[in-house]
Amino acid sequence: MNTPLKRMNRDEAENVAVSAFAFITSDEERMGRFLAVSGLRPDTIRSAASEPGFFAGILDYVASDEPLLMALAKELDTKPEHIMAAHWALSPSEFE
């Protein structure tokens, strides 16, 4: 049986997203790929970052790239499930 993901509050989830964003931007290659996939540009990133969906978008991006998810979990010294729980807290499914 699947264990349900632990509930995480919004604040904690946003902290995970901020760490994920910092992790992505700490490496040139990762940063480039992120900008390419997200369509964001350096001159629009800051306004995008203030949109309510930005944190969810970051974790969406992480969740769609398993090697990145694993690398981030390792960096944060946590389990991938923890990051997924943050993703889930910020973008709950429609059945929520």
Binding site: D11, E14, N15, V18, S19, F21, A22, I24, T25, S26, E28, M31, G32, L35, R41, P42, D43, T44, I45, R46, S47, A49, S50, E51
Partner: protein
């Protein structure tokens, strides 16, 4: 001029070049170096400055570990040398510092007091030479070329006398690095802290640098080191060995400068600068604008610009001024002061935005500007203490965005002002 060692405590020359201690006062702090009297570029750095000022003002703290910084959620701004023996370092989260040194005395920073002491040190420097280039509140480069007659001694002697005077008159200690350029003077001052005086001469520089890690080069941070490590460069000697093309690929236009530094060559001059009183950015419109909705995104971009300039200068602002010029060229300025010191675009923007809202009464404006003033050291800015975790989050977000813009931003920023994006709230 004598090449015999001289005493850094009583400033007398030793009788013998081989002397181990000063003949006059018995101090072991003798300064000797074959190029000692030929070098004139110095870097002066106050030792654990903030903590030293606090210890000066409260002698009961003298032998206690002292940490200057915010509350439990903040970071260490300065740790005294006693605290450093426990492993406490600058920029370390406070909870971690207190884990290493639970009995440390934590003192919140008192910017006013440090600025005053920093200013006093600066005044004494200016008695030695007009060529003083401040790097921050507690360090500066000095060019003492041609001051021998004025000060009746070599730059080395003048600096030793200066160190003595700072201790006596201001009550804190400094470390001095003396060399033939800024790069090496800066490295030298770091060498023997506290109360250090180190010399790096022309003859020894290439050998001295060879086995040092590339991280000692100013501007090569963790990311630069990682990029260099990928091409096999970890020590300065490797910089001399790899082809310039490889360096270019790893570092871009910094490559040339680095390969010169690797041989101890640095042509930058010591340039005295007037102290910065404010940092601002402004722009004039092609057509006059009057609505808040039109002006707000422009104000946001200017806030970003000021934020980046503050970060580059290592400063933070405690007041924000909004500047507007109407079509008759009448200037309107509005200031919000007494703010918590900040470098963050969002925190500069918010008070300016409120001022702008009040100024948008239908007047058509041709220019808008924002300035940060009442500047202080960046160390005092944007502390995530007082249970305000959102500041810490904001700091982390801004530095991530800055990284993106540093890497890809230059070209894209050109038309930024014309874009009508919703600004950050």
């Amino acid at each position: 001029m004598s090449n015999a060692p001289f005493c850094r405590d009583c400033l007398n020359f030793a009788a013998s070049p081989m002397a181990g201690r000063c003949d006059a006062c018995g101090s072991p702090r003798l300064l000797r170096h074959e190029e000692r009297d030929l070098l004139a570029i110095a870097h002066v750095d106050c030792d654990a400055f903030f903590a030293a000022v606090e210890k000066r003002d409260d002698p009961a703290l003298a032998d206690k570990p002292v940490i200057i910084g915010g509350g439990k959620r903040g970071v260490v701004s300065t740790a005294c040398y006693v605290a450093r023996t426990y492993g406490v370092r600058s920029a370390m989260p406070m909870f971690q510092a207190l884990k290493l040194c639970p009995h440390a005395v934590v003192i919140p920073p008192n910017g006013e007091k440090y600025r005053k002491a920093g200013h006093e040190v600066r005044e004494l420097m200016l008695e030695l030479t007009p060529l003083v280039e401040p790097v921050s509140i507690d360090e500066a480069f000095l060019d003492l070329t041609g001051t021998e007659r004025l000060h009746h001694g070599s730059p080395a002697q003048t600096l030793a006398r200066f160190a003595h005077k700072v201790e006596k008159e201001i009550g804190i200690t400094i470390s001095v690095g003396l060399s033939y350029n800024k790069f090496l003077a800066k490295i030298a001052s770091d060498f023997q802290k506290p109360r250090g005086f180190s010399i790096i001469g022309r003859k020894e520089a290439p050998d001295f640098l060879a086995d040092k890690p590339v991280g000692i080069i100013p501007g090569i941070g963790a990311a630069g080191q990682a990029r260099l490590a990928k091409v096999g460069v970890t020590q300065i000697v490797h910089l001399r060995e790899v082809p310039l093309k490889t360096l270019f690929e790893a570092l871009g236009r910094d490559a040339q400068r680095l390969s010169r530094l690797a041989w101890g060559e640095d042509t930058r001059r010591v340039t005295p600068e007037r102290e910065t009183k404010s940092i601002s950015a402004e722009t004039t419109f092609e057509t006059d604008l009057r609505s808040f909705d039109d002006l707000e995104p422009i104000l946001w971009r200017l806030s970003e610009k000021v934020s980046r300039r503050l970060k580059a200068a290592g400063l933070a602002g405690r007041s924000v001024t909004l500047k507007l010029k109407d079509r008759e060229f009448r200037l309107l300025t509005r200031t919000r002061s007494g703010l918590a010191p900040t470098q963050l675009a969002a925190r500069l923007f918010e008070p300016a935005r409120q001022l702008l809202k009040a100024a948008c009464d239908g007047t058509a404006y041709r220019l808008i500007g924002i300035g940060a003033a009442d500047l202080c050291d960046a160390a005092e800015a944007d502390r995530g203490d007082l249970a305000d975790q959102s500041v810490a989050k904001q700091v982390q977000m801004e530095s991530a965005i800055d990284r993106i813009r540093d890497k890809f931003g230059a070209a894209a920023l050109q038309k930024g002002i014309a874009l009508r994006n919703k600004p950050q709230r």
